[in-house]
Symmetry: C2
Subunit: 353 residues, 2 copies
């Protein structure tokens, strides 16, 4: 198994988790459980048995200190600015190639949660098995449990032994009718954002489908370990397009595979709505964390860091109190929380971002 | 005009204004305007020209210090516990009789606001004129502007000269169909809770319609100025029924009159909804006070005492942040805010009440 390299993608700003998640301490460095372990620490710990190598963490240069504190054993790749997952994954792949190795990369977002760690490992092992045998890019696919319109969906194609399937097609965030249809079908999976592929395979695909990014990555690769490393990375990232690996590569490539995940209780912790599943729930489906009461209210989420919060007569509302800011938003609108961060940026209220 | 005695009813706890209004400093002692003047100070100042006498303030014994600070010139009557308006008004009336006088009482709640003070005075003068000429109990009636179902309504009867009308009937909080009907009719008025009557006239009516309260008031009257004053008042208030003057007396008596108010911009400041009319309003009818932003939101009310509050995608929501507590409630449910106070009492969370 020393052919495996865990790569943790920790570059996000977590602006959908405002006001708790801040520029200075984004979501992946927050602890979600009573154990006090942060999301990124949990991510690394769960997959530690996959490889004797230390994990490789791609994160923003702003978060270098945090990353070192949370994962002292990890190797860090520091991005001068976030340019989405294609750039981060490509950066990791050329850094590995520069070391003269071509491991199987197990790429994991830093901000997800899992309830059954054994089944997560089984699923990733199936992905590693596929990526060892074939020159494929593997996505871990989650069986949809409800018609989420915020996720990407994957339709499976022909089987690849007992471990998985070729991908027939990727589908971007569907409308609700489509999402309902996909949920009913045994052929569709959510794209978990967990990937397995050999470094050379993803680099070849980037070269084919994102040639400009590939050029920029080559410049970085050449400069790594030299006096020009920092300035070259800065310049390259300035110029890079911001594109996801899904959109830039996977949706175009024909060598994509999917491993139907064993049911490991995946939660992408992509918004307050998802995060709240970890709070205690009352009889009326209110998820309350901290000092709060819900009177004549249902389906609502409250996160308090100290103050007493009272709901009276509300339904499906999210209330998050970080101490210096309070967010109020319907559950159906949690994806738009990032608009507050945009507003604060425009107003230059850096103390609140 | 030295026959007039202003009586300010300041016994309320203002629990519908939680979390800003607290046991230790209820609504009437909060300032609403940028001038810093409290509601009770504004109430006294507006009617100061009606009488050379200092106002008589009926308030809870807990608020003696606050009342003295806010209105140093006033005479205080301290209630050991709140027993609604019949008790407070009766207490004031026997205290005046004990002084050997029988003035015309102008009874005002401490917690209302008025935009045209000149017209308020004209309306009260009309009430004083009626109460001087006739043995009537006068209510200042407000022309309804929308079908509020939380107010009492008054139907006017035969005219009493040019100043007002006899009351045909009082109507308790109507359902919405009734309220719409009342609004359309020129014969209906809101009961403002501002009253004008001679002390002897209201005492006679209390004797007739609330004989038990009258007995208790007599005991108090006898004890006033003696060593037994405090203990007698305490015992009497313990035993008193909690009844409003409207329900206990006015709805039963046949000598009630109504003065249709000149349009003085009355607001009873009875809930956050009403209070919010004093905040600045954005283009989407959001009323924001303090550091707040409303994104994709409309018709909402935010009151912040310091923290930044962000609304995303909400409609007709009230958010009040007092520093140690936050309330979230639909505008249609502001009357139920007192349920939070009841909850906190049951939980013995006195620090939040």
């Amino acid at each position: 198994m020393n052919d495996v390299q865990v790569v943790i993608m920790a570059g996000g700003q977590g602006s959908r988790f405002w006001p708790i998640s801040r520029m200075e301490k984004p979501k992946q460095f927050l602890s979600i459980s009573s154990s006090g372990e942060s999301l990124i620490q949990a991510t690394a710990r769960r997959v530690a048995s996959l490889s004797p190598r230390a994990p490789l963490v791609v994160t923003n240069v702003l978060h270098e200190k945090l990353a070192r504190e949370h994962l002292p054993e990890a190797s860090l790749l520091l991005e001068p600015l976030g340019k989405n997952t294609a750039a981060s994954i490509g950066f990791a792949a050329v850094a590995l190639r520069k070391q003269g190795i071509d491991p199987i990369m197990v790429v994991l977002p830093a901000d997800h949660s899992v309830t059954d760690e054994g089944k997560l490992l089984e699923s990733l092992q199936a992905g590693i098995s596929l990526a060892s045998k074939h020159e494929v890019m593997v996505t871990i696919g989650i069986k949809p449990t409800y018609p989420n319109t915020g996720y990407g969906y994957i339709k499976k194609g022909v089987p690849l032994g007992s471990d998985g399937f070729m991908v027939r097609r990727f589908f971007e965030k569907p409308n609700v009718e489509r999402a309902i249809e996909y949920c009913k079908s045994p052929d569709f999976f959510w794209n978990s954002g967990m990937f397995v592929w050999r470094a050379s395979v993803i680099l070849e695909a980037i070269e084919e489908y994102m040639p400009q990014l590939y050029e920029q990555l080559l410049t970085i690769e050449l400069a790594l370990g030299t006096a020009l490393e920092k300035s070259t990375i800065e310049k390259a990232f300035q110029e890079m397009e911001s594109t996801s690996i899904d959109f830039g590569v996977l949706e175009l490539a024909r060598n994509c595979a999917v491993v139907p995940a064993f049911d490991f209780g995946w939660n992408d912790v992509g918004s307050w709505d998802a995060w709240a599943e970890h709070f205690k729930k009352d009889q009326k489906e209110n998820l309350l964390h901290g000092d709060a009461v819900a009177i004549d209210s249902s389906g609502s989420v409250v996160y308090s860091t100290g103050k007493f919060i009272a709901l009276v007569g509300v339904e499906d509302i999210v209330v998050i109190d970080s101490g210096d800011a309070v967010l109020i938003c319907p559950r159906s609108r949690v994806q738009d929380v990032k608009k507050v961060v945009e507003h604060l940026k425009a107003e230059e209220r850096t103390e609140l971002i």
